[in-house]
């Protein structure tokens, strides 16, 4: 590795880019300048003292990271993009924040998102929406809006996110970068503001699939503070990979440019000797309803803790979308409605999982669109919560089933907005998804 620039120079370059771009893009809510410089100086010292050998212990030494403002960072304000936590400074950090720091990452700051991670556009942030770097009249997607926009606009090398119903994959797709959602239970959620506990996954946004894999190598694995996490052997079962195309994802209502771009990615895989098969996931059309019952139910429970007593402001400070989800969740769990809504959703959840289990007997992974449309305009869906919810229609099934997914960019629309596709695999099949993703990025003309 030839040393071309120091970590301090790298940080100084990113900080000046942030200073210039952020007033318009609104990706960052907090910039941790002093910490970034002190971590960069430390990185330069380690490289100077130990040379490349230091990378064995610190595989991400000098890599700049921005954390979604849902990740607790000790001593640095963490808001969840909500007025409720506008001046909250945590006394401890999330496990993933600690692990990335120990691996040598340099923290640049905290990124904007939909408040409490509720949204598909970034517009539900109580601190104003982030903008899409490809065209500032369009949304960057959500909820990890600032993280995706920041990586896309070269304001950081990597950024973290959470994916409860598509909140990493969809903004990555809208911003033309790679968005990775691990298997439910592969990465610790300790210290991250909880949205819906049976669905929340902690992942990241990067420029390439290779980077996504390297970051996952650091963040994954058991944590005594989150008992849902387990270590699992990651291996590829078959030498000749089979990729399934679910016919239920190519239905009326899908944008023609989105459809075409996914089918072109399929051609790239075919050329690389990946076998393509049509498969069926018959309960696909119900996944969004399952999600919009289970998720608000769990949201209403998780947001119950914000009472303004130990930290934060009182419950009157919740924004509209958080209030809607708390109300919806409270309603579907309330006496007389529980069986019809919540229990029925849990049962259909079983059927969505069985669809995937059956499909994965036939294929190693599934290729599908991430979003039914390319990025939409700011304000376009602001008046209809239901329409905004339907933007998640292709991403939620992976969360309902607890399986991993990765969104990969594959081109642009005629008007110059990003297009892409997602790969989904069985639980703990991350290695296979990374291999397929790298194969695509090596053989496609689009990088």
């Amino acid at each position: 590795m030839a040393k071309k620039f120091s970590a301090v120079e790298l940080v100084s370059e990113y900080l000046s880019r942030i200073e210039k771009a952020n007033p318009e893009l609104n990706c960052f809510l907090t910039v941790s300048k002093d910490l970034a410089y002190s971590q960069a100086k430390n990185a330069d010292k380690l490289i100077n003292d130990y040379g490349d050998k230091v990378l064995e212990d610190k595989p991400l030494l000098g890599v700049t990271v921005a954390h979604k403002d849902l990740f607790l960072t000790k001593g640095i304000r963490t808001t969840a993009s909500s007025r409720v936590l506008e001046s909250y400074v945590p006394a401890y950090s999330a496990t993933v924040v600690d692990r990335l720091e120990e691996a040598g990452c340099i923290l640049l700051g905290k990124t904007n998102c939909d408040a409490w991670a509720h949204g598909a556009s970034g517009e539900n942030s109580d601190f104003g929406p982030a903008k899409n770097p490809w065209n500032k009249d369009f949304v960057p997607g959500g909820s990890s809006s600032g993280s995706a926009a920041a990586v896309s606009a070269d304001l950081t090398l990597i950024a973290t996110g959470t994916d409860t119903g598509g909140s990493i994959r969809q903004p990555a797709n809208f911003c033309g970068v790679v968005g990775f959602k691990p298997t439910y239970g592969a990465v610790s959620r300790y210290g991250i503001v909880a949205m819906a506990s049976s669905l929340d996954c902690v992942g990241h946004i990067t420029k390439s699939v290779e980077d996504a894999e390297r970051v996952f190598g650091v963040t994954r694995g058991e944590d005594y503070r989150d008992s849902t996490v387990k270590n699992s052997k990651l291996e590829i079962k078959n030498s000749k990979l089979k990729l399934g195309i679910p016919k239920e994802y190519f239905v009326e209502g899908i944008d023609k440019e989105v459809e075409r771009s996914v089918l072109e990615a399929v051609k790239v895989f075919k050329k690389q000797n990946v076998e393509i098969r049509e498969i069926s996931l018959p309960h696909t059309k119900y996944a969004i309803s399952v999600y919009y019952i289970i998720q608000p139910a769990e949201v209403s429970s998780n947001l119950g803790r914000y009472d303004g007593i130990r930290y934060g402001n009182d419950r009157g400070s919740f924004g509209d979308e958080a209030k809607r989800r708390i109300m919806l969740g409270t309603y579907v769990l309330s006496a007389g409605y529980y069986d019809a809504y919540y229990l029925q959703a849990q049962k259909v959840r079983t059927q969505v999982i069985e669809d995937f289990n059956k499909a994965f007997l036939e294929v190693d992974a599934i290729i599908a669109p991430v979003s039914p449309t390319p990025p939409f305009k700011l304000g376009e869906k602001a008046d209809s919560p239901l329409e905004m919810y339907l933007a998640d229609i292709f991403t939620v099934a992976a969360n309902v089933a607890g399986i991993p997914g990765i969104a990969i960019p594959s081109g642009l629309t005629k008007s110059g907005l990003p297009l892409g596709f997602q790969l989904l695999g069985p639980r703990f099949s991350e290695t296979c998804l990374f291999e397929l993703g790298k194969l695509y990025q090596q053989s496609s003309v689009w990088k």
Binding site: Y224, K230, S300, Q344
Partner: protein
């Protein structure tokens, strides 16, 4: 078509401890009714012999040693650092019981 009434919305807001204005009540009433009508689609799925899923890890009864880890504990000062409303090292909470006013 699911239709919430004003009193449904007020009842749910009370359960959720959310203060709502009358403008919010009428707006949320129509927005939430729309969402509920959409998700009611699930009633058409036959689930008679299906078990519900509450989590996807397959893990059960994850246990650990019952021992104190110093690094996982906050000091009293750290615990109280999120609020200015403290008294002698305690959190100050809104009164639930009040003395009879004479």
């Amino acid at each position: 078509m699911s239709k919430l009434s004003d009193s449904d919305v007020k009842h749910v807001a009370k359960l959720a401890n959310l203060p709502l204005t009358s403008e919010e009540i009428s707006r949320f009433k129509s927005q939430l009714s729309q969402v509920l009508s959409y998700v009611e689609k699930l009633s058409e799925v036959d689930t008679e012999k299906i078990e519900p899923t509450s989590q996807t890890t397959g893990l059960e009864n994850v246990l650990r040693q019952d021992e104190i880890r110093i690094e996982a504990n906050l000091t009293q000062k750290e615990s109280l650092s999120g609020t200015e409303k403290t008294h002698n090292g305690y959190f100050v909470v809104p009164a639930i019981l009040e003395r009879n006013k004479k």
